[in-house]
């Protein structure tokens, strides 16, 4: 199969305009004849559902939570980037585009990223119009701050709750359409399969999480906005219900998966304290604007931080990267924290943490200013750790946070299954091998508010769609096979709980496919995963019945997917023998230990096609062509 990215011809700056013109339109009166399924209600899903309904399409929106307002976009803290240049620092669409391509270590598509930068400004305008209470200066204009790896202040924010406010804005827009009858809402539903008819995505099978019934839903197109797979590591900043299931099941139905090994390990999370732990909490990267990262100079120095004098402290980021200092991109900051801890300089009870110290900032600006900027984060930190960052340096350590990999999509955000669109974190498109701070919110909303409303129209206008109802045999088959998998999970009645398997898989992935990867470790992980999967299907214990609210059963289904998907990540990581962004192959590093790309052999997207259970997936390559930025070794020194 030939991958066709459908990138419009012409100069980069004109591609999106030209494409919008060339996309065929659907007459407003005809839009109501089309029905669209949207799965997920995070930033991408809520904004897509609302915008599509505003245009007149019939939308059916599904979410796994009890309310669409709870999708995990809500937890994003730091902010959202836009190329407004309100601060007069010389920002521009071109600079945001360039930073994002470079930040992604030159493994994303130029055309997609340029479009993202263009749309960033519209997002801010729209969100302000929705009544989102962004931070403002004394004059009443929008405030900006600089954020992770950027040398201009282009990040808009609402305290440390930007994701919450943007999501509630999109949720409100969605609720308005539900109230108007243009969107039908299906909460507490989990997608179990995509239904394909005549090669086109025409519906989904979902499980009602309250009564356990399976439901079939038919439509003219399906939009997946189901987030990432960071929970594969078990301990992550993701929510409990964030999972790869919907994407993975679409992959098994023919949607190809791109760059599965590109995961982001975020540098500033509260370190783990014991085996009971179920998640790691992110402390916004914005803290690095004022906090200084350090460890003791000497390994094994177990003095309390306040007892370690200045000369015995190693502010390693400031030393190593004088021009970016504490603001180096996430992948770099995480990897160096790991190196310090591996060298025995880690702090805290587990020795797996580094300090993030606000003493100098408090001395410089005063406690009030710091509290105004970070108060809610400091409070959250204290709730969890019982320590106050006003008095003692925070302790932080990297944790799984975001996944750049995802279902492959073309410029229209359509997967390799016609009629199956993928938005937000669930697709692979814009962040390359490392996502910059404050750009996830930007991408989710760009996809949902400003891209899918046009490209789905182009699809409908140029496609023959036969009449398909949920009585079609394809629905019956998909429903039957979902019923069988559930029955199988319920029948095993083994001796290990689902969480217990999830922890073990997470540990395998963290050790061998985390911040640092090598051939031997990845090979070993492959074997360990296969063994664990075999045990899972013989020894998992799911209590209760399948016709009721049953969290264990939900988790068992997701874990079954994770145990297969983990293997895809490993296969991808093994294949990509270069280092790039968050994917650090120990075999490929510069003399001073930085990621070393191999542009000659790996300037492509690795796109995997499912080839049957237990079989190695087929690799396809989408070459990445850089006509506007020059490939360079990233340097933040």
């Amino acid at each position: 199969m030939q991958l066709e990215a459908n990138i419009p011809a012409g100069p980069l700056t004109d591609k999106w305009d030209r494409h919008r013109f060339e996309l065929k339109l659907i007459n407003p009166a005809n839009k109501r004849k089309f029905e669209i399924i949207v799965v997920g209600t995070g930033l991408a899903g809520a904004s897509a559902s609302a915008s599509l309904a505003e245009l007149g399409y019939h939308v059916k929106t599904f979410c796994i939570q009890d309310s669409p307002r709870r999708a995990h976009s809500i937890a994003a803290q730091g902010g959202i980037n836009a190329a407004k240049n309100y601060t007069n620092e010389g920002d521009s669409v071109w600079r945001l585009f360039y930073d994002t391509v470079k930040g992604g270590d030159f493994r994303s598509r130029e055309a997609n990223v340029y479009r993202l930068a263009q749309l960033s400004n519209h997002i801010i305008d729209h969100c302000v119009a929705q009544g989102i209470p962004f931070a403002r200066d004394y004059g009443g204009l929008l405030a900006n701050r600089s954020f992770g790896g950027s040398q201009v202040s282009r990040t808009f924010y609402a305290r440390g709750q930007t994701g919450q406010q943007l999501l509630l804005g999109a949720y409100s827009a969605l609720m308005r359409q539900v109230g108007a009858g243009s969107v039908t809402l299906f909460p507490r539903r989990e997608m179990l399969d995509a239904v394909i008819v005549n090669g086109q995505a025409r519906g989904i099978i979902v499980r009602n999480l309250i009564n356990g019934e399976l439901e079939s839903h038919a439509a003219d197109a399906v939009v997946l906005t189901t987030g990432g797979y960071g929970n594969i590591y078990y301990l992550s900043t993701n929510a409990e219900s964030s999972n790869v299931g919907a994407g993975f099941r679409a992959y098994k139905k023919g949607a190809m998966f791109a760059n599965a090994c590109f995961t982001q390990i975020h540098p500033t999370c509260i370190p783990h304290t014991g085996d009971h732990q179920s998640k790691l909490t992110l402390m916004s990267e914005s803290l690095r604007n004022d906090g200084r990262v350090w460890v003791p100079h000497n390994s094994g120095d177990i003095r309390e931080p306040q007892d370690i004098p200045e000369e015995d402290r190693d502010y390693y980021l400031e030393q190593k990267y004088p021009s970016f200092g504490n603001l180096v991109p996430r992948d770099v900051a995480s990897r160096v924290a790991k190196t310090q801890c591996d060298a025995g300089k880690g702090v805290g009870l587990t020795r797996c943490a580094v300090y993030l110290d606000f003493a100098d900032a408090i001395k410089r600006d005063g406690k009030d200013i710091i509290a105004k900027k970070y108060g809610n984060l400091f409070d959250m930190y204290e709730l969890i750790t019982d320590d106050s960052p006003y008095e003692k340096p925070m302790m932080i350590y990297p944790a799984s946070h975001y996944t750049m990999g995802g279902l492959w999509v073309d410029y229209n955000l359509m997967s390799t299954i016609p009629g199956l669109f993928v938005l937000g974190e669930a697709n692979f498109s814009d962040h390359g091998a490392n996502r910059l701070g404050a750009s996830a919110l930007m991408q989710g909303l760009a996809d949902g508010y400003f891209i899918i409303p046009y490209t789905i129209g182009g699809y409908f206008a140029g496609t023959e769609l036969s009449a398909v109802s949920k009585e079609h045999a394809a629905f019956k088959d998909a429903s039957q096979s979902a019923t069988e998998s559930i029955a199988k999970l319920m029948s095993i009645k083994g001796k290990r709980t689902v969480d217990n398997f999830a922890r073990e898989l997470g540990q395998i992935m963290w050790n061998y496919c985390g911040m640092s990867r090598n051939d031997a470790g990845l090979q070993k992980a492959l074997q360990l995963i296969q063994d664990l999967r075999a045990e899972f299907w013989e020894n998992v214990l799911v209590p209760g019945t399948d016709k009721e609210y049953n969290k264990s059963l939900e988790k068992a289904g997701r874990q079954a997917d994770s145990l297969e998907f983990a293997e895809l990540m490993i296969v991808d990581a093994l294949d990509r023998t270069e280092s790039c962004g968050g994917h650090f192959r120990e075999e490929s590093q510069t003399e001073d230990g930085e990621a070393k790309r191999d542009d000659e052999n790996f300037s492509h997207v690795s796109v995997w096609e499912y080839d049957g259970y237990g079989k190695r997936p087929k690799l396809h390559k989408e070459p990445l062509v850089f006509e506007n930025v020059e490939l360079s070794q990233r340097s933040y020194k």
């Binding site: 109230g179 409990e240 179920s278 409303p453």
Partner: protein
């Protein structure tokens, strides 16, 4: 430096109910070897692991982000919504707030408008219905003016943000003697009434959201201030005063009915 593992044993008197139409009861469950660094939710995880391995039905409870922002979790712990610690959701309540040997009563958020789904899980979809009836600014995608076209005084933006911090958890309803949703409704009405963008629809919004709140079976405000006390995001009842002002203004001076 604190000890790595400090554990306690507690006894849970926990509400078990098979479904909204079934009768519920309190069940006594032991929670042993609980690290004080666990969150309340992680303690329940551990209890559920035990129950599962013993062939019993694990306790059903909702939760998602486990960092206090999604509003999914919640239970009444020892008579208080989200438990004894102020400004804290259940998932951020840590076991260090309890002592060895404690007996802890755990119940769902109770209100006529919130039906029990199972054990601690309740149906809060009436909140979505209230937002559907007006908790938005009617602006379609596209066509918005530049973000800086309307300056908004910083203190107004900050007040709007205070009101917008609501996570929709329902603790205010559970804490209120008349199971009123006024704090929840007032958060959204305040946020949008304070901002210039929200003013054109202010009257209709106030009337419609209050009407829907009543229709969903929530009670009215009786000035007990329990909601404010239970709110994990510390929404102030000043918002309710604003709601009342908006509501009266709309009732007396607008053409909306």
């Amino acid at each position: 430096m604190k000890k790595l593992v400090e554990t306690i044993n507690v006894t849970l008197k926990i509400w078990r109910q098979q479904g909204s139409e079934k009768k519920g009861h309190f069940e006594t469950v032991a929670a042993e070897n609980i690290s004080v660094h666990m969150s309340f939710i992680e303690m329940l995880d551990m209890v559920n692991e035990r129950l599962t391995l013993d062939g019993k039905d694990p306790i059903a409870f909702d939760n998602d982000c486990r960092e206090g922002i999604c509003g999914t979790c919640g239970a009444v712990v020892d008579g208080r919504a989200h438990g004894p610690q102020k400004a804290t959701t259940l998932c951020q309540l840590h076991m260090r707030k309890f002592s060895d040997g404690d007996t802890i009563a755990v119940e769902p958020f109770r209100a006529r408008a919130f039906k029990v789904v199972k054990d601690l899980v309740v149906d809060r979809s009436p909140f979505d219905k209230i937002i559907q009836s007006g908790g938005y600014i009617s602006v379609n995608t596209g066509g918005a003016p530049d973000g800086n076209a309307i300056p908004i005084p910083q203190e107004i933006a900050e007040k709007a943000m205070d009101a917008a911090a609501c996570i929709g958890c329902g603790a205010c309803v559970a804490a209120c003697p008349s199971a009123s949703a006024m704090l929840f409704v007032s958060g959204k009405i305040s946020q949008l009434a304070l901002l210039p963008q929200g003013k054109p629809e202010a009257a209709r919004r106030a009337l419609s959201m209050v009407k829907t709140m009543d229709a969903c079976g929530f009670g009215n405000c009786t000035n007990h201030r329990e909601c404010e006390n239970a709110c994990p995001k510390e929404l102030s009842i000043v918002n309710i005063a604003r709601l009342n002002r908006q509501f009266f203004k709309a009732s007396f001076f607008s053409d909306e009915v």
